[in-house]
């Protein structure tokens, strides 16, 4: 029977959660890199035992760790992220020009075909790639040097490439999302990029429907339907059925359309999950109830999933990289909270149980299937 491994990045280290295909009993190992902020870990789809971890922090800067044995042992690999050429400036919070400075890796996206190739989304917003297993990183500068770049501005958490989606049907196409610039798509392997934000509306912007400047929190795609994207924007849950050329709002009957995560069921491309958060000023769930909302119709009609989740006095947040699905049947769904809980559902969200409930604040969750 296949097993599941869930990689958890937290404010104070990384944890590895493993179970068999039943996903009832879990082994928790860690912390790895105890005391250090681990923004994200992700394994290669080609070789699940090869995992990359992003350690960040004010004291020692960026460190990249690589494991070749499923997270049992780690080695430090390259941590030199140099922008191509003279990086220039982007917009600061107050509208002034601010130099582009590397701060941290927010997200690793391993190649779908090559375990030595990994994409890294970084703050200040840029995309890097390694083709030698993390020893060296080179900027894919076509993104940052898009003509709109000097006008990009940070969200509250910084200005970062936080989402990278690879199109399994077209090796030349990928999508990235930046807070707060929006979605960009390349159709030529990263040489050139175009904004993909038509249909988004953000009231905080001088021009709410401008091509660039939206605070996109997360985008998700089902591998079998790469032309369809789902988005949790700062406010609004959106979908696109034309590779991001246009977007329609599908927030429907959600109790709040603010939130961070969005993910798609592994076997049902029209089944989507979000975790509504009350507002951008409050950053906790409505009514003190932690509820995952599931739509089986690709949005607009949503059902609250509450069994096993706290339904009173709950004021945690679920950050943008802290939800993941596995590909077993039924689909497993996982998410972590700023309160240190990692919840799992082995039945596509119908029921939930905490795998662990006293970790440091969870920053990222990634599920892997083990042979």
């Amino acid at each position: 029977m296949s097993g599941v491994r869930v990689l958890v990045g937290t404010h104070k280290g990384a944890f590895v959660l493993t179970s068999d295909g039943k996903r009832k009993n879990w082994e928790v190992t860690g912390p790895q890199f105890g005391g250090l902020e681990i923004y994200h870990l992700k394994g290669s789809p080609v070789d699940p035992n090869r995992i990359f971890a992003s350690q960040v922090g004010d004291w020692f800067g960026q460190v990249v760790h690589r494991s070749n044995d499923g997270g049992k042992t780690w080695e430090a690999v390259g941590n030199k992220f140099l922008y191509d050429g003279t990086p220039g400036t982007h917009q600061w919070y107050d509208g002034t020009a601010h130099p582009w400075e590397f701060k941290r890796v927010w997200h690793f996206e391993p190649s779908l075909t090559d375990p030595d190739t990994v994409y890294a989304g970084v703050e200040d917003a840029a995309l890097f790639r390694t083709t030698d297993g993390g020893q060296t990183w080179n900027e894919m500068a076509g993104l940052r040097t898009h003509p709109s770049g000097p006008g990009w501005a940070p969200g509250a958490g910084g200005m970062a490439v936080h989402t990278i989606l690879l199109d399994s049907s077209n090796a030349q196409r990928m999508y990235i999302a930046i807070s707060a610039a929006g979605v960009f798509r390349t159709d030529d392997g990263g040489q050139t990029w175009k904004p993909a934000n038509r249909g988004l509306s953000s009231n905080f912007m001088p021009d709410p429907t401008a091509e660039v400047g939206h605070c996109v929190h997360r985008i998700a795609m089902h591998p079998s339907r790469p032309s369809t994207l789902f988005m949790q924007k700062h406010w609004d849950v959106m979908r696109s059925d034309d590779k991001g050329e246009s977007w329609q709002e599908v927030s429907g009957d959600l109790p709040s359309d603010f939130g961070f995560v969005v993910d798609v069921h592994a076997h049902e491309p029209e089944t989507v999950y979000v975790v509504p958060i009350l507002s951008d000023s409050l950053h906790y769930p409505p009514d003190g109830k932690l509820r995952v909302y599931r739509s089986r119709s690709g949005g607009n009609e949503w059902e609250a999933l509450t069994k096993g989740l706290p339904q009173k006095d709950c004021y945690v947040n679920v950050l943008r990289d802290a939800m993941s699905v596995d590909t077993l049947d039924p689909c497993g769904v996982y998410f972590g909270t700023t309160g240190g809980q990692v919840y799992a559902s082995a039945d596509a969200g119908d029921t939930w149980a905490p795998i662990v409930h006293d970790l440091p604040a969870v920053l990222s969750v990634e599920a892997q299937i083990l042979p």
């Binding site: 005391g35 004010d58 020692f60 030199k80």
Partner: protein, 98 residues
Amino acid sequence: MIRVILPYHLQSLARTGREVSVNVDGPVTPRSILDALEAAYPMLRGTIRDHVSQQRRPMLRFFASGEDLSLEPIDTPLPEAVASGNEPFRIVGAIAGG
């Protein structure tokens, strides 16, 4: 040999104990110690000083012989007690955070 005391998390990263020893050719300065340290422990590159600017990370400080040398020019010769190995060069992390 120059003795260097590392903060806790850099000990873990370099897989060393609290104190390491490095060989420095020529004048013993913060720069020459860091060059030798990074040559011996490549995983420390970028963690004490920035890859590009070579500036000390702001939440680390350098001490020797009871003096805070963090703001001295990076090529300032260090006290004889450090150059002779009698006293360590200390890299200290700020006591901050939560």
